[in-house]
């Protein structure tokens, strides 16, 4: 992979992380309310998948979708404004954090009811197939969503009719507080696809490069008309399920282990910096990989560390601007709300 792509991936991950951490802050301040599900820890999945996607592909996501939305080109301004419930948000303040939409960007929504993404994506794919377009739908879902009946029903239909869907499981091992071995009889999500004869792979979701490559391959096959594919990305969320969740059901040691050794942002930094540390250097770095690695790089006086800092401030600026934009945006009115509901009412006037 060329260094430019790698830098793009790194920047996307840094922005994702910065955006989400800022959203958490704004939630604490009271600027954001409702359920707020954040993405830190899982960045490699969205960044890898959506950088590999084509511009005419459609995306269907869950309530944990801020990063997915931004990666499809919805501006951080519009996403942040939506989290603030403002009129300039991408759903004009009607949807909030869980329901980002952008018709033009083919971002077909964040869905709040677990399991809804399956039929929606399958329906979009049906429409594509009817029109015989070389497009695909990317359908995101968590490990917990796999046990919903719609997973089964939709995958069967998608396979039966050869629909162009890439099913993407963000397996962070938890359905809120329930660990995957306590919610799934088969804990390897990709194996679930066997019941539908859908090609499936499990990929390290902490490694953005692997995610990017696997996605690209799968999409090529889908464009070629071979029907749906499923990719399972193993990942981990660093925060609680939502801002309302203290996350106390997870052993601290588990959380630390993932944070220190597997932070996808750290991995991306490592992979992007040209002076890649040796296996020895990494193991010498001990558990606190990110910081140690960064300071090691720093000590070595790499130019790229400055570049990294530049990236960090660039994304910080983007996030600051987004918050300013959101704060400045007006609130939608009741008339707006009525008009949004009536978007499907053409000229007709009801009694």
């Amino acid at each position: 992979m060329d260094r430019e792509t790698q830098l793009k991936l790194l920047k996307d991950m840094l922005l994702a992380r910065a955006f989400e951490e800022r959203a958490a802050e704004e939630y604490t301040k009271g600027n954001i309310a409702g359920f707020l599900h954040l993405y830190p820890g899982e960045e490699a999945v969205a960044v890898g998948v959506l950088n590999a996607a084509g511009p005419s592909d459609y995306v269907v996501s869950t309530y944990r979708e801020h990063v997915h939305a931004m990666l499809r080109g919805i501006s951080p301004d519009q996403v942040m404004a939506e989290l603030f419930g403002k009129k300039d948000g991408c759903s004009h303040g009607m949807g909030g954090s869980m329901h980002l939409f952008d018709r033009q960007k083919r971002f077909m929504g964040g869905y709040g009811i677990v399991g809804e993404t399956f039929p929606v994506a399958t329906g979009i794919a049906y429409s594509i197939a009817m029109k015989q377009q070389p497009e695909a739908v990317i359908c995101f879902f968590g490990d917990g969503a796999v046990n919903q009946g719609t997973f089964h029903e939709s995958l069967n239909m998608a396979a039966l009719w050869g629909l162009p869907v890439l099913f993407v499981c963000e397996n962070n091992h938890y359905q809120i507080g329930t660990e995957i071995h306590r919610h799934s009889a088969v804990a390897e999500v990709y194996k679930r696809a066997c019941g539908y004869r859908i090609p499936a792979r499990r990929i390290d979701g902490m490694n953005v490069l692997e995610v990017y490559e696997a996605t690209g391959q799968a999409l090529q096959q889908i464009y070629a008309g071979t029907g749906p594919q499923l990719l399972e990305f193993e990942t981990y969320r660093f925060r609680g399920h939502s801002m309302a969740d203290p996350g106390s059901y997870r052993p601290k040691v588990e959380v630390e282990a993932f944070k220190d050794q597997e932070d996808p942002v750290a991995i991306a930094i490592r992979e992007t910096l040209p002076c890649y540390p040796s296996a020895d250097e990494i193991s010498a770095a001990g558990p606190d990989v990110i910081n140690k690695l960064c300071s090691q790089m720093d000590n070595l006086g790499h130019l790229d560390n400055r570049q990294l800092e530049a990236l960090r401030s660039e994304v910080a600026q983007i996030v600051d601007d987004a918050v300013a934009f959101a704060l400045a945006s007006p609130e939608p009115t009741l008339e707006d709300a009525q008009a949004y509901l009536d978007c499907n009412r053409q000229q007709e006037v009801l009694i």
Partner: protein
């Protein structure tokens, strides 16, 4: 111009016409294709339009209705057939929490040209699980429309309108109406989908009803007439929205209101009709408004009990007579 046909044929023609006119219209549901639909509604369409536009589905109501929602996001105009409304209980998330919410939640970016066709009601000894009447469940959903055609003409008009509309719409048919016959004029312009229709004018009381109970009410009205009681019979045609004006106009003449519905009384469709008209016609009514509805029981398989469970012409006659007792006194 008008032609006599079955209710199912009127629906069939409407589907044909819309599919001919617009490539983005497609049907899906169990056995709609090769089999031609359990009630023949999609007969002949599979042969004409092929499997992509007339899609036989697995038994997966929740997801194939949701598939319709997804396809509608791309501008397709899916017509989902849920074989009977009993199975719609499995598809309510798709209808209520997806189809009707997306246009709103997206801030108006996604209209939802989805039609869900399904027969509801009590048929012939299908027992409790196959005798759902879910109209009131659907009525409480902002952003949804419910058309309830009671005649072949309305079936023709309303299905055509529903497919052309960008709103999510339930076309609530009735198993016992499919093989009823009536005149259909396919050329004349349709009234607005939600406009009620006065089927009979009478000065003594207003009977408000919908779907199959229209026929039962009309029979009762004939009998009442023989007894000297003249009823106005209004077919709502739409349960959301309700055409209040037509009802109020009639009550201005009759001052008495009887609502006849096939679902069970408590919190049924009639509750809204009574409540809406009590609010609007408080000073017009001479008598307490009355509901005649199904009993507060699941529907028994036994045929006698089944028949006793929902309004029959005699029940309507009795209720109307009761309501008009004071008529001569005044």
């Amino acid at each position: 111009m008008a032609e006599e046909m079955f209710y199912w044929q009127a629906l069939n023609r409407a589907l044909y016409q819309q599919m001919e006119a617009d490539d983005s219209v497609f049907l899906l549901g169990e056995d709609v294709g090769l089999y031609g639909g359990s009630y023949r509604v999609s007969e002949g369409l599979y042969a004409r339009f092929g499997e992509w536009r007339v899609r036989d589905t697995p038994i997966s109501e929740g997801s194939f209705t949701g598939l319709g929602v997804g396809a509608a996001l791309l501008g397709s105009r899916p017509v989902v057939e849920i074989m009977t409304i009993n199975f719609a209980l499995l598809a309510l998330d798709a209808i209520i929490n997806m189809a009707t919410k997306i246009p709103f939640m997206s801030g108006g970016q996604f209209p939802m040209p989805l039609v869900v066709r399904t027969p509801g009601g009590v048929a012939k000894q299908l027992a409790a699980q196959h005798s759902q009447r879910l109209e009131q469940t659907l009525m409480n959903v902002p952003g949804l429309r419910i058309a309830v055609p009671a005649t072949p003409q309305d079936a023709w008009w309303q299905l055509n309108q529903a497919i052309r509309s960008d709103e999510p719409i339930i076309v609530l048919e009735h198993e016992l109406l499919y093989f009823s016959k009536g005149e259909v004029d396919t050329q004349v312009e349709a009234p607005p989908m939600h406009r009620a229709r006065v089927h009979r004018q009478g000065a003594d009381l207003t009977i408000v009803t919908y779907s199959r109970m229209l026929q039962v009410s009309l029979q009762a009205a004939e009998q009442l007439s023989a007894q000297g009681i003249e009823a106005t019979v209004i077919d709502l045609r739409s349960l959301r929205p309700i055409d209040w004006d037509s009802c109020v106009q009639s009550i201005e003449q009759t001052h008495r209101l009887l609502v006849v519905e096939e679902d069970s009384s408590f919190a049924g469709a009639g509750a809204e009709i009574i409540a809406g008209l009590s609010e609007r016609c408080f000073y017009l009514l001479d008598e307490p408004p009355k509901r005649l509805a199904a009993r507060e029981l699941p529907i028994a398989y036994n045929g006698t009990l089944e028949a006793m469970s929902i309004p029959r012409p005699a029940d309507i006659v009795a209720a109307a007579t009761d309501l008009c007792q004071t008529k001569d006194a005044i």
